[in-house]
């Protein structure tokens, strides 16, 4: 019987290697797998590349990983959100590299990897500083910038409900990057509030089909 449940957040993040690319879903403080991030801190992998919309908040989760010197690079669209002092200190100390990518391009690059594509031409960033050094091409009179697919070694996800196969549904705007990151990592692990019986999720309304999910851990609702 397929059962992707694991007993703890520690088990969910087991095996992450030094140098791994970690996709961290969430927007602001919503839809972030806080418990998996804490477990990753305990797990000890270092020299990580983090893909996330922002760059950590306060001294928990991603910010804690940065403060502990475990993050070599952040790929994000907007580091300056909330209390981003952890990032700012490391950025100023030059112990951390920033790759700034527009928000829609981060998600489309992950979508491209998920879909098995080799890259795509996007109109975003054309004629701007962020396109410097990138291949461009004029197509039907519009300038496009070549964007490469982006993949993770692991994705840290948060959903509302899962079944034992790993089918997922989300809670309102906590969906955000979760479904895209779920598709774009070699290993996709999710913390959920609730496990439900196989067959109890509406087959027309599952947002992340089980094929994308490897491990599920129940951690209860956000306080």
């Amino acid at each position: 019987m397929i059962d992707k449940r694991v007993a703890s957040a520690a088990e969910a993040v087991a095996g992450v290697k030094d140098g791994a690319v970690v996709l961290v879903a969430g927007f602001g403080t919503v839809g972030i797998a806080d418990d998996l991030l804490e477990a990753l801190h305990e797990q000890g992998a270092t020299n990580l590349t983090i893909v996330h919309n922002n760059a950590g908040n306060g001294d928990t989760g991603l910010a804690r990983l940065i403060n502990s010197g475990r993050v070599a690079k952040v790929i994000c669209s907007y580091p300056r959100s909330g209390d981003y002092s952890a990032f700012l200190n490391a950025y100023r100390a030059k112990t951390l590299e920033l790759e700034l990518v527009p928000q829609g391009i981060i998600s489309e690059r992950m979508h491209a990897h998920a879909a098995g594509l080799g890259g795509f031409f996007s109109p975003v960033t054309a004629h701007t500083k962020l396109a410097e050094g990138k291949e461009t091409r004029e197509i039907d009179g519009v300038l496009y910038v070549f964007e490469k697919p982006l993949k993770g070694d692991i994705a840290l996800l948060r959903a509302k409900k899962a079944d034992r196969w790993g089918n997922l549904v989300y809670d309102q705007s906590a969906r955000n990057f979760n479904p895209i990151m779920a598709m774009a990592a070699d290993l996709s692990v999710v913390q959920v509030n609730e496990m439900v019986e196989l067959g109890s999720l509406d087959p027309e309304a599952v947002v992340t089909p089980s094929i994308f999910i490897d491990r599920v851990v129940v951690v209860g609702a956000k306080a």
């Binding site: 602001g28 669209s77 700034l100 527009p102 928000q103 829609g104 998600s107 500083k129 309102q172 705007s173």
Partner: protein
């Protein structure tokens, strides 16, 4: 008073009046993304009876007003990371689909804040190049290329009184040639291939006065009007 009276006096709009003015141009049935900050205020001033559907880059189509105190839902926030609501008919989608809507010209209007706009409609709104802070772009570049029409709402001048409507932008571009209409605290200006046309100016202002606060040449539209929002607390 005529438009060439150099001694006329006028009163700039406050931020709510600017948002009000931008909101008047949002048509029934329009799908609209409002940028973080002042653009977001426009949602409150859509004329009664008009259905306008607001999009949020974090995966909401059908954004509603702020929740009543005590009814906030921690999983329902807008692009500015403030608590929000969903109206009837609203739906959720993931980030790639939210940006497909932005990038693929599905939105009718994107109303953005700006640091600078050029007479060619170039937009600079993502970085002031402050060397002591990391840059952040967020969804600004996606929004600036994606909607069917890009409009900007901003103060006409910077805090020192210097023009922010320029011959060429000094700050790094968000996207070239994208802005079609500019709402400022002094005027409504259209960006056209024939140059900048003033559609509206605040009561009592002259074109000469407005030109003095604007770097590129302004032309007065034939059918220009007075910009007269209702009184509003700033």
């Amino acid at each position: 008073m005529t438009s060439s009276d150099k001694t006329a006096t006028y009163k700039p709009l406050n931020r709510d009046q600017m948002a009000w003015r931008a909101a008047q141009d949002l048509q029934e049935g329009a799908y609209v993304n409002l940028g973080i900050g002042m653009p977001t205020r426009a949602a409150s001033y859509v004329p009664d009876g008009r259905e306008v559907i607001f999009h949020s880059e974090n995966g909401i189509l059908g954004l509603g007003p702020k929740p009543e105190p005590g009814t906030e839902d921690e999983n329902l926030i807008d692009a500015g990371k403030n608590y929000t609501t969903l109206i009837k008919g609203g739906v959720f989608m993931h980030h790639a689909d939210a940006f497909l809507m932005i990038r693929g010209k599905h939105l009718d209007v994107s109303l953005l804040g700006a640091f600078e706009v050029s007479e060619a409609g170039d937009l600079a709104n993502w970085t002031t190049e402050d060397p002591s802070f990391p840059p952040g772009v967020g969804g600004a570049m996606d929004l600036a290329v994606g909607a069917k029409e890009i409009r900007v709402i901003m103060d006409h001048t910077d805090k020192g009184g210097k023009p922010r409507i320029l011959k060429k932008c000094r700050l790094p571009l968000t996207a070239p040639g994208c802005v079609k209409r500019i709402y400022t605290n002094l005027a409504v200006i259209d960006v056209t291939e024939q140059g900048l046309f003033v559609r509206e100016m605040v009561e009592g202002m002259t074109l000469e006065q407005l030109q003095a606060l604007t770097e590129p040449k302004l032309q007065l539209a034939n059918n220009w009007q007075s910009l007269t929002p209702p009184a509003m607390a700033a």
